[in-house]
Amino acid sequence: MLIRLTEASPASFAEQIVAQVRLGVARGEVRRGERLPAARELAASLGVNMHTVLRAYDALREAGVIDLRRGRGAVVVGGDVPAVASLVESAAELVSRATALGISPGELSTLIRGMA
């Protein structure tokens, strides 16, 4: 599972982590029952504050993607429902196409907000 954080994104690092874990689960790169890296380990890996990762893990727990238990860490318990997983996948593809066209995530975000 790839987690990539970019300063240019309008989303916070925690939000980027949430989106990319959900994408990883939707793509089957992380399977149900698999343990995510410990918050401290992922924070060191990405060079971010541990509380950023903990915030992301809390959001993933609230979304029902992971289960957080003392001693067991963050375990994937389920992904998004297929329709939402497909949407997450489409969003990732959209971001990728926008980047290729020179449209930054910030511009894309503004574009989408204007359509809502």
Binding site: L2, R4, T6, E7, A44, L46
Partner: protein, 329 residues
């Protein structure tokens, strides 16, 4: 061939020659010591001690010499063949060192007994004293053979690719994946069954041999299962492979030591076999024959890790190496 390649080949040839000399030293030492001590040795040689007391075993001096010399000669020949094959076979560097240690130990064993006997008035009065310490030389000789032999170039196939993820200078990226090896889990399960049989035997017939057998099988099974599920992480710190069960790092390559990471088909035979391997080709975690990454290191051996879909971790590693190079100029 460029002059740089010529220089490298010449250097490797010198290293192989020196390793060969090291491999021959035990046999040479045995012959020299036998020639030097021969006149002082009688027909009998003290050959076995139980503790620091008087010897409790004796052998014919020259009969034992020829036996030890023959074994040392065979092991020396094995070491020399392995030295000669180091540029072609991944296992040869390790086996050259093992044969070197064994031939050194064999030669040293006879030298120590002859030395102790020659120093005493009668074979029955021979004492080992601190002479056993020279066994260290045998191990040092094997280590010298290993270190002198040039590492084999990483066996990277012609179809290998080095993908790279486009990465902005300020981007942070981390790739992590968990892999489990069916082969190693099956081997662990078989080992576990054999351990249970050995445990039952140890309980039914308690003896040193059955207990040691059970403990060894338990350790072997645990070490195989330790290698079965592993987590690979690629990030700004480098590449790490760790056991999921014990969280023990198995392989670690710092980012500044990575030259490039390629995607290739890992052939167990080229990396010394299955499992966690250290061979002339480098360090490897081989769970099966199939796709994996090969990390070429600056000033060191290559590292191979089998993994499903190796393109992304390889692309991330190469992107991080490039990002670091740009940052450090």
């Amino acid at each position: 061939m460029t002059s740089q390649q010529d220089e490298s080949a010449a250097r490797d040839a010198v290293r192989r020659f020196l390793a060969g000399v090291c491999a021959v030293l035990p046999l040479l030492a045995l012959v020299v010591v036998a020639a030097a001590m021969g006149p002082r040795l009688g027909p009998r040689l003290a050959s076995h001690w139980s503790g620091a007391a008087a010897p409790d075993g004796f052998a014919a001096t020259w009969g034992s010499f020829w036996t030890f010399a023959a074994i040392t000669a065979v092991l020396t020949a094995v070491a020399i063949v392995c030295v000669a094959l180091t540029h072609r076979r991944a296992w040869s560097r390790t086996w050259a060192a093992i044969a070197g240690v064994l031939s050194g130990t064999t030669a040293t064993a006879w030298i120590v007994t002859a030395w102790a006997t020659a120093a005493a008035a009668e074979p029955s009065e021979a004492r080992l004293g601190g002479r056993m310490a020279i066994l260290v030389l045998a191990v040092a000789g094997g280590a010298a053979v290993f270190l002198l032999l040039p590492p084999r170039p990483a066996p990277i196939g012609a179809a290998a690719t080095a993908p790279r993820l486009p990465l902005a200078p300020e981007d942070r990226v981390s790739w992590t994946g968990v892999m489990s090896s069916g082969v190693l889990v099956a081997a662990g399960a078989v080992g576990g069954c054999v351990f249970l049989i050995a445990l039952a035997a140890a309980i039914a017939m308690p003896s040193t041999a059955t207990v040691i057998g059970a403990v060894v099988l338990l350790a072997a099974t645990a070490s195989v299962l330790l290698l079965a599920p592993v987590r690979l992480t690629v990030d700004q710190r480098g590449i790490r492979l760790a056991s999921v069960l014990l969280r023990v790092p198995l392989i670690r390559v710092a980012l500044d030591r990575i030259d490039t990471v390629v995607v290739d088909t890992i052939e167990p035979g080229q990396w010394g076999g299955w499992g966690y391997r250290v061979s002339g080709a480098g360090l490897a975690y081989v769970a099966r024959r199939g796709p994996g990454i090969v990390v070429t290191r600056r000033g060191g051996n290559a590292v191979a890790i089998t993994i499903d879909h190796p393109e992304q971790p390889a692309a991330v590693a190469n992107a991080l190496v490039a990002q670091r190079s740009r940052a450090t100029g």
